[in-house]
């Protein structure tokens, strides 16, 4: 399932729910991304999406990940709107028969979300605001899977 939300979420509760009723699955991996304060340089992050398009684009990658890693299930929840430092910004969970596939799929989906998913991220700080573009490392991370 892929979901965008402008509300804060509890990653622990999401993970508990995701693990329910999985007697045959064997492995669940998850990742939670948390908005960083950058030692006071970031007062808030603001995430913008293109409603409909963003979910559809992530959905395509999610389907690729399902096939490539043989996933039984996956969950992606991404915040939009204003996010305070310390708040979870993204949650990814993957379920597979064995741990390697679950870990790798989670890693792959996060690499995709960092630099290819249709989100635009603005950092609000004491000195003003700036749009954040993916770093060279983010591009290198996604290139590992190609």
């Amino acid at each position: 399932m892929i979901r965008l939300s402008d509300q804060a979420f509890d990653p622990g509760a999401l993970l508990s729910d995701f693990c329910q009723g999985r007697a045959e699955v064997g492995a669940v991996a998850s990742f939670t991304g948390i908005a960083r304060a950058e030692a006071g340089a970031t007062v808030a992050l603001e995430l913008e999406a293109y409603p409909g398009f963003t979910e559809a684009q992530i959905g395509k990658i999610a389907e690729q990940a399902r096939t490539r890693f043989g996933l039984a299930d996956l969950l992606i929840l991404h915040r939009i709107g204003k996010i305070a430092p310390g708040e979870p910004i993204v949650f990814v969970a993957t379920a597979a028969s064995h741990r390697r596939e679950a870990f790798e799929a989670c890693d792959y989906l996060m690499d995709y979300l960092k630099s290819r998913a249709p989100f635009w991220k603005k950092e609000h700080g004491p000195g003003g605001e700036r749009w954040i573009e993916p770093r060279a490392e983010d591009h290198a991370d996604i290139a590992r899977w190609e």
């Binding site: 995430l47 960092k114 249709p118 603005k122 749009w131 993916p134």
Partner: protein, 79 residues
């Protein structure tokens, strides 16, 4: 009329998020925007900016139906 959507820094540069523009193709649309705001048109033409027509990525020129939705997508960053 095409419905034009701007995202991220493009929206801040233009000072608007959404508007209607009379154009029968993407090239006409770019020309119409350029006549009003050359800096915006230049930003829209940068290599990192993708175009979605009716929510599908297109490259180069394309014809626009009367109710087309054209979105300009600058470099993306999530997570």
């Amino acid at each position: 009329m095409a419905r034009v959507l701007l995202f991220g820094p493009l929206r801040d540069l233009a000072g608007w998020r959404e508007r209607e523009v009379a154009a029968a193709s993407l090239a006409e649309l770019r020309a119409a925007l350029s006549a009003e705001d050359a800096a915006l048109a230049e930003a829209l033409a940068r290599p990192g900016v993708q175009v979605a027509l009716n929510q599908s990525i297109v490259r180069g020129d394309a014809a626009l139906s009367p109710a087309a939705e054209v979105a300009f997508l600058p470099p993306m960053s999530g997570g």
